[in-house]
């Protein structure tokens, strides 16, 4: 009996072209668009490029040996190079600035000044460099006024330019924000599996469709029918998500880490959540087919939005401002499962996500079965 019901259900669902469009083709198209849109930002290491600056080669500049040496040290090619310096006259410097060829123009006077065309990180760094010179100058004059004991040692210490920071890392994974968009896309596809679950509930309830009426008079056990249908929907949904995953990993080269089985387990848990969500809506919203579909797509979109589909750091905002939401939102749980596989070495957080997903699915399934069982119809 299982093979019979399961097989026909599989055919029914797979031949619903509109459904296949929304649950498979649409996510594939979205994935391609994300890929094109974020192409430039993906997987690329951020690199620091020396900031281009001009200095006005006035007499004051030439006479200020200490400042010239400081600038030379910062523009020497190599690891510590911060700026790329052009020495030029006043008019030319201004022209370079207006054309955007340099980020700022340094003018030596009393005090040393900076001219920029807009605010930004590069301009801020230039200012920080000049600030540093002024600060060091203040320190030296301050110390020499009060304790002029060892000026030579003082200058030697300044020349050393010691660094006091040390890079450490919480995990070996390079933080790549854009990855989350693809994780949420898979989550969205899992939740779209809800359309399959929704269709199942329509086809099993006697007052909603002629198929439901016919199947209600058949002598098979209701629980059996519901479970076999569920298995068929799950199979289709998982197959679709796997196709999407394969497309992301093999064609678009999205990094899911290398724990294949855990990734697939996440997909499975996600599909279970999606299909049960659809079944839940299908049994509890006693409205027309169109309204149910609208409820399902609107709620799965909202969940994906809260997990970061449209705004990259939405997930983190929710996790900090309303942590409760991220524990009950299946889309966030799925995306977070992928994320924790990618970032963390331990699986504690991963299994917390999967456990919560399964718990939510079980609750929705139980509720919808309780609602479906023992239905009697006075007239059809």
């Amino acid at each position: 009996m299982f093979m019979h019901i399961f097989g026909y259900r599989l055919k029914c669902l797979a031949r619903d072209r509109e459904m296949v469009f929304w649950t498979l083709i649409f996510p594939l198209i979205l994935a391609t668009m994300f890929h094109f849109a974020f192409d430039q930002l993906m997987g690329r290491q951020e690199t620091f490029r020396p900031i281009r600056a001009a200095v006005v080669g006035s007499d004051a500049y030439r006479q200020n040996v200490a400042f010239r040496q400081a600038l030379d040290a910062l523009s020497r090619p190599g690891e510590g190079q911060l700026i790329e310096l052009t020495v030029t006259d006043d008019r030319e410097a201004r022209r370079l600035l207006e054309d955007g060829a340099v980020s700022g123009v340094i003018t030596v006077g009393d005090p040393i000044g900076l001219t920029v065309s807009q605010s930004g990180i590069e301009q801020s760094i230039l200012k920080a460099i000049l600030d540093e010179y002024a600060h060091t100058y203040a320190t030296i004059t301050g110390i020499l006024e009060e304790h002029p004991t060892d000026p030579a040692g003082l200058l030697r210490e300044i020349g050393q330019r010691r660094s006091y920071t040390q890079q450490i890392s919480f995990s070996s994974a390079e933080p790549d924000t854009i990855l989350n968009v693809f994780y949420v896309l898979i989550a969205m596809t899992c939740l779209y599996g809800g359309f399959l679950g929704l269709r199942n509930t329509t086809d099993v309830q006697a007052d909603l469709s002629p198929q439901g009426a016919r199947r209600s008079v058949a002598p098979t056990h209701k629980l059996g029918v519901v479970l076999y249908d569920l298995a068929a929907a799950l199979t289709i949904s998982l197959a679709e998500v796997t196709v999407l995953l394969a497309y992301l990993v093999l064609v678009l080269r999205v990094n899911f880490g290398n724990q294949v089985w855990y990734v697939l387990l996440t997909c499975l848990a996600g599909c279970i959540a999606g299909v049960s969500f659809g079944a839940f809506i299908g049994t509890f919203a006693r409205k027309s087919e169109g309204v149910k579909t609208a409820i399902l797509s609107a709620s799965s979109m909202t969940m994906s939005f809260l997990a970061g589909l449209m705004i990259v750091n939405m997930k983190d905002i929710i996790a900090r401002k309303a942590p409760f939401l991220s524990y009950i939102n299946p889309a966030a749980l799925i995306a977070d499962a992928f994320y924790s596989l990618y970032v963390f070495a331990s699986h504690r957080r991963f299994f917390l996500n999967i456990g919560l997903l399964l718990l939510i699915s079980a609750a929705m399934c139980t509720l919808s079965f309780l609602r479906l069982r023992r239905d009697r119809y006075a007239s059809l």
């Binding site: 005090p111 660094s163 006091y164 919480f170 924000t177």
Partner: protein, 388 residues
């Protein structure tokens, strides 16, 4: 006027599906405009990198002084000392730099032992260099003051460092570029405008077209005494009024949100012109979709794919400046590309001069040409179908 009246009856039936895009767009715009703090223009604003500072050295004056200095010069985001939470913060770029002052740092530093502030960053990024500079500067000054500044208590030391670091370099901002175009808040509104107007108008126009193109209904209207030309003109009038209605709602809403800033920018008429051109394009696409699809499902699919697709590839959702060249080369064949290009150009204007406006006019004309071409193709298609 029967057709014209029927037009708005049909429209009312699908009002929910049509207004959903406008509602979402307006809702998000309000949320964003509330979230964005008004930006000062004209003065130099020092960049404040978002960082998290974890001070494990407690109350020691040097560590406290460093933490205070970082708080004054960067945007501190409070986070607990929990590696998992901090990792999340960095991954989602809530902070770009995590500085950890290890326990016993002050003692080690002052007794001359090797020690360092630990950092977790996006390696090689420009903002991490910026924060490095600040930390190094504070500690180098501390080293000088401590070694050569004679006997002093730790509190005196921290105060002396702060006094040295108080000086600011004077910064002049070139007057001609004092208002930085890309920073204005309504720029985003008018970029996303393209998506909202495209989705809404496509949805509405195609819904009407589908209703009037149902084979039975069509046959029936063909044998009424209203001439086909008149019926078509009434439909066209309906489309025009609907499209203009959507456009004016969205434009008026931008006045409500950004009123004074937008009006004083002197760019309103340029934005209006550009959006109006794109509205015509949207209507033409809706016309095309409406005459090619039959079912509601196909219509929803087409609207979603076209609106999202064009928005992604042409730079509505992601700015054109960060799209790769290949994508842009492809986008050139789509009208939204020219809308965004003109929109960026308008937003970058500080003074509308004739030479600066010419390329914008060009982009608008290209959009209109797209609209004309799409209309022509649609008419050709319907002609062919009639012959069936």
């Amino acid at each position: 006027m029967q057709v014209f009246r029927a037009y708005f009856k049909v429209m009312r039936a699908s009002a929910g599906a049509i207004s959903i895009y406008v509602a979402i767009f307006l809702g998000l715009s309000v949320a964003f405009s509330l979230a964005e703090a008004p930006q000062e223009t004209g003065d130099f604003a020092q960049t404040r990198t978002s960082i998290a500072v974890i001070n494990r050295d407690g109350e020691a004056p040097l560590a406290q002084g460093l933490a205070d200095y970082l708080a004054d010069t960067s945007g501190i985001v409070p986070y607990p000392d929990n590696p998992e939470k901090l990792q999340d913060a960095l991954f989602f770029r809530n902070v770009e730099y995590i500085a950890i002052i290890p326990a016993g740092f002050s003692t080690d530093f002052l007794s001359g032992r090797d020690c360092a502030v630990q950092k977790v960053t996006v390696s090689g990024s420009i903002s991490s260099r910026y924060v490095d500079m600040r930390i190094d500067k504070y500690l180098r000054t501390a080293r000088l003051r401590h070694q050569y500044g004679g006997d002093q208590s730790h509190e005196e030391l921290a105060a002396a460092i702060r006094a040295d670091l108080a000086q600011e370099t004077p910064v002049t901002v070139l007057p001609s570029s004092a208002t930085n175009g890309s920073e204005r808040e309504f720029v985003f509104y008018y970029r996303y405008f393209a998506y909202a107007v495209l989705a809404t108008i496509m949805m509405g126009v195609s819904a009407i077209m589908m209703a009037f193109n149902k084979p039975d209904l069509r046959r029936r209207s063909l044998c009424t005494p209203i001439p086909a030309r008149s019926a078509n003109l009434q439909l066209a009038a309906g489309h025009t009024i609907f499209a203009l209605g959507c456009w004016s709602v969205l434009v008026l809403f931008s006045f409500v949100l950004y009123g004074r800033n937008l009006l004083s920018s002197g760019l309103v008429w340029l934005y209006c012109m550009n959006t109006l051109a794109f509205t015509v394009v949207s209507a033409s696409i809706g016309f095309l979709v409406g005459s090619s699809v039959r079912s509601n499902g196909a219509q929803a699919g087409a609207v979603n794919v076209i609106a999202n697709g064009m928005s992604f590839v042409c730079g509505v959702f992601v700015p054109q400046s960060i799209l790769s060249k290949h994508v842009l080369d492809f986008g050139r064949f789509l009208p939204a590309y020219w809308y965004v290009k003109a929109n960026d150009a308008i937003s970058g204007l500080s003074r509308p001069t004739a030479s600066a406006l010419r390329p914008i006019y060009g982009d608008v004309l290209i959009q209109l040409a797209f609209a004309a071409a799409i209309f022509a193709v649609t008419l050709l298609l319907t002609k062919e179908r009639q012959a069936e």
